[in-house]
Symmetry: C2
Subunit: 188 residues, 2 copies
């Protein structure tokens, strides 16, 4: 069983710390009695305030209808401790199995949305659909992050970054160049 | 002076190998006699064919007008060998300096667009504006990659992933889970 890290509230305006580096994430959703998890690598931060994240959720995913109709989801950040679970989630369909059960993941109630948090992930971002203007054309959803929960440590978890073809690169060393940044580009 | 890697043509439908992991990139642009470079961390792959990339280019950037009017840019992928140049480019304005000159970068002619390639980068993706539907509301540009040039090796370069606050995580170890992927999700 994977560990469930202790988490604290985190400012939604700062979720870029976890999403801008481009990790693979797991998106959880719920509608009526159904729930599901999918992996997602096509996402980008779009704004600090409101806290906006844009992402592509292909119509072929079982999660598409759940998210399209409930207009909600949770973006969960797995670390490399969950590598094999991430691969399993990405290679199975919620039409056939309950992924929480199959992969031993714990569904925790969220505060602002019906979709469940995945307790074993390093961070959970509760999201509501903010703009669906490009859903028809590109399957592109713009979500607002309403609530963020983040493990108290480490500040920079080891994350998975998908390159296609079954291969990931893993985030490694952290380097700071704070001293060379313009003050207005830094956190206070 | 940074090295200029030897490059080969690369299939535009496969640029996700370099962009999906979420690296910081340098976007070059040109309009009339002007040219510029900006750093960008808010981008996502959106489609394989046509090869689409969505990205946020804030209106406060000097590059915004050049890209908005020319409807073109080049997305250049720096490795960690260019870390200090990336930080310099991200903390200066093209309204005041020519960044190619200041940072010793080489502008190479592109094949499909007027914007120059940055020769020192690992990869160069020539882009044309494909959809500007969300530019007004979110500064969100959807580009089509028309032509891709990629260094012959390594297959997975060491890249920079920005977390905000002057800190980057660096891509590290590569792991493969090919054997656990459904065949239709793998390159042939």
């Amino acid at each position: 069983m994977a560990r469930q890290p202790a988490k604290a509230d985190f400012p939604v305006s700062q979720v870029r710390r976890y999403l801008e580096p481009g990790p693979i994430v797991m998106v959880s959703s719920a509608l009526g009695g159904r729930r599901n998890i999918m992996t997602m690598g096509w996402h980008t931060v779009m704004e600090f305030t409101p806290s906006l994240v844009g992402c592509v959720i292909a119509g072929s995913n079982h999660s598409f209808a759940l998210i399209r109709e409930s207009r909600e989801c949770v973006i969960n950040l797995p670390t490399t401790a969950l590598t094999d679970i991430v691969v399993g989630v990405g290679n199975t369909s919620g039409a056939e199995i309950d992924k929480f059960e199959t992969f031993g993941l714990t569904a925790q109630p969220a505060m602002r949305v019906q979709a469940p948090l995945i307790a074993e992930c390093h961070a959970n971002f509760e999201c509501r659909l903010y703009d669906d203007a490009l859903v028809e054309r590109y399957n592109f959803f713009i979500f607002e992050v309403l609530k963020a929960h983040v493990a108290k440590s480490p500040r920079h978890p080891e994350t998975l970054h998908y390159t296609g073809n079954g291969e990931f690169v893993i985030s490694g060393k952290v380097i700071s160049r704070r001293r060379w940044f313009r003050p207005e580009l830094l956190d206070s």
